[in-house]
Amino acid sequence: MLTKRLIACFDVVRGRVTKAQQFQDNIDVAAAEELATRLYDDQIDEIVFYDITASAERRKIDLETVRRVARHVFVPFTVGGGIRSVDDMFDVLKAGAEKISVDSMAVRDPSIIQQGAAAFGRQCIVLSTQVQAVGRRPGLPSGYEVFIDGARKATGLDALDWVRRGEDLGAGEVVVNSIDRDGTASGYDLEITAAVADAVNLPVIASGGAGTVDHVVAGLTAGGAQAAIISSILYSPRFDRNVGVEELKVGLTAAGVAVRPYGAAPSRAGGAASTSERPSD
C-alpha cells in the first residue's frame, strides 16, 4: 500500500542550511549537501529545499547547490525559491531536482502553475502555501488567509479557494505551511491541513510546527495529510534533542500509520550492487 512520507525541509542561503522561527531570526546549521547526505543516510523519504533569499534578491536559484545535493540524494528532491518561469523550472530539473515548489510567484502569476504542468507534468509542480488564521470574514470563508514573501504580505486570498484553484491549474501536490506554527514546535495546524485535504484530490503535505513524534502522527491522521514536512525536529540547534528518522518511523508505525520501514535494505544475495563495484566491461 501507499505509505505516508516524511519530508525533510531545508531553508538554504548561499549553499548553507539556515533555521528560522516564524520566518525570522535565522541561524546557520550546515552546508546543504552535508545535511542532505546525512538525512539520506538516515533514510528520510524525501527532501525539499528552498532558496529563501533568491526571490527577495531578485536572482536565479542557486543551481550549483541543487547539483551538489542531487549528486548525493537518491530519494525525491524538490526545490523552490526564485522560480519565475518555465525556463527556471527547466534549469532546476536539469540540475537534478524532481519537483518544483512554487509559492509567492504562483500567487502573483497563477499561470506559472499551468505552464509548469504543461511542460513537465502535474507531478512536477508542488504548490506551497503560507497560511495564517485571521478569522472568518467576507471573502475569507475558511478564516485562513494566504500570505506571500516570507509571510510578510497578506494577499486577501482564502486558503481553500487558492488550493482549489491551484489544483484546477495543474498543481500535483499542495503544501500547507502554517505561519502561526512555523518553528514553534507546537504541532501542525490540523484544522487548515484537514480542510485542505478535504478541498483537493491531490496529495497534501502538512508543514510548520512539528516538534514531537506525536505531532507528526497527528498531521498524518487527524490532519489528513499524505506527507509531513519536518525540519527543526531533525536538525535545529535550538532543540535540546533532535529526533532521527528511525524514532519517527517507529512512533508512526506504533500509532498505526503505514510508512516505508526503517532499515529495510536490498538482500545482498546474488551479487547485489555496491558503491565500489565497477562494470565488468
Binding site: L2, T3, A70, F74, G96, A273, S274, D281
Partner: protein, 203 residues
C-alpha cells in the same frame, strides 16, 4: 557504457547521478549516434506520455531506439513514463505509443488521490536477474496518474496496489521497465540499477 536518453522533459541527470554513485560508466545521450554507441539503454521519464513521445520524435530518436532495442536486443530499462511509452496506447491524451510491449496504459480511477505520490510496496511475481534484490515487499518511490496493463501476463514482473493491483515492473526479453523511479528509490532502486548494468539478457 550505459546510454541514458536525455530529452527535454526527462530527468536524465538524476539517473546519471545514481549511475555515477554506483561507479557505472554512462553517458547522457541526445542523438542517434549516442544511442548507437551505447551498450545498454535507459529511458528515464517524468511528465506526460504525449510530451515524452513528442520529444523523442523531435530528437529523431524513435527509429534508432527501435533498431537498437528490438533489432540489436541491447538491454533496455524504462523508468516511469519510460515504461508507459513502451505500450501500444495510453489513455493519457489517447496517444499511440511505441508498441514494443503489447498492452495499454490506463488512468487511476478519479475516486483516488491522483497522482499517486510516495513510497509503495512492490511485490515481485517471479524471479528475474534485474529485480532479484527486491525483498517481498520492497518500498519504492512512485509518481503516477496512469498505470500499464500488459496484454501478456508473462510480461508482468512485479505488482503494486493503489486501490487495485497494477503492474509496477515489466519484463519482456531484453526490456525491463519500472513504474517507480528506480533512481529515487533509495538502496533498492540503486540495487536494481546495478543489477540492470550487469544483466545479460538471453534472447
Amino acid at each position: 557504457m550505459i546510454g541514458v536518453i536525455d530529452y527535454r522533459a526527462g530527468n536524465a541527470p538524476s539517473v546519471g547521478y545514481a549511475l555515477a554513485h554506483l561507479g557505472l560508466e554512462h553517458r547522457l545521450v541526445r542523438d542517434a549516434p549516442g544511442v548507437r554507441t551505447a551498450d545498454q539503454l535507459v529511458l528515464p521519464g517524468v511528465g506526460a506520455a504525449g510530451a515524452t513521445l513528442d520529444s523523442l520524435y523531435e530528437a529523431d530518436l524513435v527509429d534508432v531506439l527501435t533498431e537498437r532495442v528490438l533489432g540489436d536486443r541491447v538491454p533496455f530499462l524504462g523508468i516511469c513514463i519510460g515504461l508507459q511509452v513502451l505500450f501500444e496506447r495510453s489513455d493519457e491524451g489517447d496517444v499511440e505509443c511505441l508498441g514494443w510491449v503489447p498492452g495499454v496504459v490506463r488512468r487511476f480511477p478519479s475516486s483516488l488521490r491522483v497522482p499517486q505520490i510516495g513510497w509503495n510496496t512492490v511485490r515481485p511475481t517471479r524471479a528475474h536477474p534485474v529485480t532479484d534484490g527486491l525483498v517481498d515487499p520492497a518500498h519504492c518511490y512512485f509518481v503516477n496518474s496512469y498505470y500499464c496493463e500488459p496484454a501478456e501476463p508473462d510480461d508482468v514482473l512485479a505488482v503494486t496496489e493503489y486501490s487495485t493491483a497494477f503492474c509496477s515492473v515489466v519484463a519482456r526479453q531484453n526490456i525491463v521497465a519500472t513504474q517507480f523511479h528506480a533512481e529515487k528509490s533509495g538502496p533498492f532502486g540503486l540495487d536494481l540499477l546495478g543489477r540492470f548494468a550487469r544483466w545479460e539478457p538471453r534472447c
